[in-house]
């Protein structure tokens, strides 16, 4: 808005003049007005006093070394993320190895032999391990049945050729383990990613 030298300057004009935000021509007219106006210079001085006061504020020293704290945080964050990833990976690998090992028919013999050699007082845990092994065996044989029977299922509506009740326990356990691992991964992935990679603040 052009400033006429006859009219008083608005507060906005005065602030903009002190901030150097007025166009050159407008600024010249504003100064021409200030040179003759009896009231506007006092208003300008009042605003100017704030500029002077703020300029006089010194910087204060910082009492603790922020660099130390920043470097400690940076060292901590990625390690934390990576450690959890390793723990998760190790869990997944251990679970997989255990599941495959227990599914092997030879595992029962090997464990029984180890139990004798180690002179373990009880073999109740061998009976316990027979349960998931039976589940695995059932799962494998039924998977083979699906592979053999699958194509005809697509073309003809026929009842499933295997009993489903034997599968319930292993399927439930496997599902829970998978969900637990996946849930952990989903929860921890953003944290590890945030710690490693720069992102939006």
């Amino acid at each position: 808005v052009p400033i006429e030298s006859e009219r008083h300057l608005t507060d906005e004009d005065l602030h903009a003049l002190l901030d150097g935000e007025l166009a050159v021509a407008t600024s010249v007219r504003a100064r021409a007005h200030l040179a003759t106006c009896p009231t506007c210079p006092a208003r300008l001085r009042e605003i100017e006093s704030v500029f002077v006061a703020l300029k006089a504020l010194p910087d204060l020293p910082v009492r603790r070394d922020l660099a130390r704290g920043v470097l400690d945080q940076l060292a901590l964050a990625p390690t934390k993320g990576r450690r959890w990833i390793w723990v998760l990976g190790a869990q997944a690998v251990a679970a997989g190895v255990l599941a495959v090992a227990l599914g092997q028919p030879a595992a029962a013999e090997w464990l029984a032999l180890a139990s004798v050699r180690l002179q373990l007082p009880s073999t109740w845990w061998l009976e316990l391990l027979a349960w998931p092994r039976a589940g695995w065996e059932a799962l494998l044989s039924q998977a083979q049945a699906v592979l053999a029977y699958g194509p005809s299922l697509i073309t003809q509506a026929r009842p499933l050729p295997w009993p489903t009740e034997g599968l319930a326990a292993p399927a439930l356990l496997t599902g829970l383990v998978v969900l637990w691992l996946a849930g952990n991964s989903l929860l921890l992935f953003p944290r590890s990613r945030g710690a490693d990679a720069p992102g939006e603040a």
Partner: protein, 183 residues
């Protein structure tokens, strides 16, 4: 040995030398802390947020243009962080610390020094008493020398709002300083 430039330190940090970022922090910690202290008025919070500002800056270092000066950029990060902090739903009161480690003023009489400190405390108190947006606009304009347009971008506000916050903030400061002078 010549001191490494900010640009070199930033590039080294991007290359994985985290210690180079430590050097950047040491260079700018006083100015970043003072941005936070002027906005928050409380030393411990100001130091915590200054540290947080450097961590944010580190995380966003890839988006920083190393051809531009680092100081204004990191101070802007700090100012925005403080504004977010001040605008949190839980309102906080920020009693201004009684500072006892002022920079040494040489050649001044103790009485003059005391008057000067009292005046500075008055200004800081007046500043901290402003609403958060007015305070931030004043900080960015007077201490960071941002233009209206740059303040608008930094604060994510329309230009008219920035002017309004700045002008109202100054007016309130002028009144407070005037009434303090009368006492």
């Amino acid at each position: 040995m010549a001191e490494a430039s900010d640009r070199d330190l930033v590039l080294r940090t991007r290359g994985g030398e985290v210690d180079a970022f430590g050097e950047i922090v040491r260079r700018y910690q006083v100015s970043v802390f003072n941005v936070c202290y002027r906005l928050l008025g409380e030393r411990r919070d100001a130091e915590d947020l200054a540290q947080e500002a450097f961590l944010r800056a580190y995380q966003r270092l890839r988006s920083y243009d190393e051809e531009r000066p680092f100081g204004p950029w990191v101070r802007q990060v700090a100012a925005r962080l403080c504004l977010n902090y001040l605008e949190r739903p839980a309102p906080s009161s920020f009693p201004l610390d009684e500072e006892n480690d002022w920079p040494a003023a040489t050649g001044e009489q103790p009485e003059a020094q005391a008057r000067k400190r009292e005046r500075e405390q008055t200004i800081r108190r007046a500043l901290v008493a402003l609403p958060a947006k007015q305070r931030t606009a004043v900080e960015l304009r007077h201490f960071q020398e941002f233009s209206y347009e740059e303040i608008a971008v930094a604060m994510g506000l329309p230009l008219s709002d920035v002017k309004s916050h700045l002008f109202r903030g100054r007016k309130a400061l002028a009144e407070k300083l005037k009434s303090a002078d009368r006492i």
